[in-house]
Symmetry: C2
Subunit: 246 residues, 2 copies
């Protein structure tokens, strides 16, 4: 179906229980009225971006606009991936954030490295939050990607859940298929444009990271992050019930 043949998909962080009337923000109102050409009484889908998905009825669209919750369901996160990402060159982080969010990555954690820090790009957090909302709408997901403030690499590694399967993208690594099984919690570390240095690689291998390679070619930071995320998304599909066919 083309996008405009589907019901509108809204991000309403304060989504309530059935019967609640949730005010639409200015962005949502514009989206519903102008992009979806919605009218009072139309049904739409809404999510709080934290696993709750509701069918809603749109009302007062010529006024302040509200969504009346008809029924709600919880969609728990079956698997979650974190991307620890060094700084790419220039403005390349903007689309990286958008693409990782579309592919369903749970956490984007910028990491400051010896050969590259996020510097002023850290000031783009608010823009990145907006991009994750747009990506959530676009891809109709129940979970919004969390974008965290930059951390030093060591701190980001120390903060990981102990159960997390850990990958370090390096051209010398094994192909992902040979590197082991899928896990409910996964993290990949992607070096900055200048790459990780030896101390950083040592820190990560000591913390249980396994080296994996993503391509025969040398990839830019943002391309490597996205390539890993695409593989992660595809692995999830392959395990989903009911989708295999002979």
């Amino acid at each position: 179906l083309p996008a405009d043949a589907l019901p509108a998909f809204l991000h309403l962080p304060s989504l309530g229980a059935a019967g609640a009337a949730v005010p639409l923000g200015p962005d949502d109102l514009h989206y519903v009225r102008r992009v979806c050409r919605g009218r009072d009484g139309d049904l739409a889908t809404a999510t709080d971006g934290a696993g709750k998905v509701a069918e809603v009825r749109l009302e007062d669209l010529r006024g302040a606009g509200r969504a009346v919750v008809l029924r709600v369901e919880e969609r728990p996160l079956r698997r979650a991936a974190t991307v620890l990402c060094g700084a790419p060159e220039g403005e390349r982080a903007d689309w990286l954030v958008e693409k990782l969010a579309e592919l369903g990555i749970a956490v984007f954690q910028p990491v400051d490295c010896a050969r590259g820090g996020w510097g002023r790009a850290a000031g783009r957090l608010e823009r990145w939050q907006r991009l994750t909302v747009a990506a959530l709408r676009q891809s109709r997901q129940a979970h919004r990607m969390e974008v965290r403030a930059p951390l030093p690499l060591a701190a980001a590694v120390a903060a990981l859940d102990p159960a997390t399967a850990r990958w370090l993208a390096e051209p010398t690594g094994a192909p992902p298929a040979a590197a082991g099984q899928d896990a409910p919690l996964e993290v990949v570390a992607i070096g900055p444009a200048g790459g990780f240095n030896a101390a950083e690689r040592d820190l990560m291998t000591a913390a249980g990271f396994t080296l994996i390679s993503l391509s025969d070619n040398r990839l830019r930071t943002e391309t490597a992050a996205l390539a890993w995320a695409a593989g992660w998304a595809a692995r999830g599909l392959a395990r989903a019930p009911g989708v295999s066919r002979s």
Copy 2:
């Protein structure tokens, strides 16, 4: 190794046999002098973007600049992928071209579809050519991605080599892992922002395309193209000799 610790990597379309002196263009000269801080007598790697890779010696860098070919080898394309791509929204094709080139896609073929044509974006062919050169340098490949002028979908399908394994990205498809084996020649068709219509899907299934799904989420055109390309690149790695490990 960080990028600046590697020898310069040049795109010289007129790369000759050993002994030839190839003039550097203004872009190459800038790259060698300013980015790589090269000096006369330095060695570099050069490719014609069509499988020829040479070791060259840089000379006259303060003048017009030239590369003297020391030795040449051919790197035949082991496997080649074509992306038939409907028009994404806005300027999103620019980075898509760059990323597909980095991942080693052989041919980018824009296709005009019922629900979306390339229109003015077709005028960006020259810019896209430049992006493929930059990506070739960045990823140090011997083969430059070919960017073709837009074609109607039916014409692009008719022009495919009969031996090409054919995939059609659709949310209802099978996971790539379930969809069959890898092939030396592969093509994927990605719908425009508005999606393929039924007649286009019928045309492709009649032409031997198999439906595959890339993610549980609805992906934008450019994200779907890139997700498929990342999977294709990773499959190539997994089959490469000498990289598996227990």
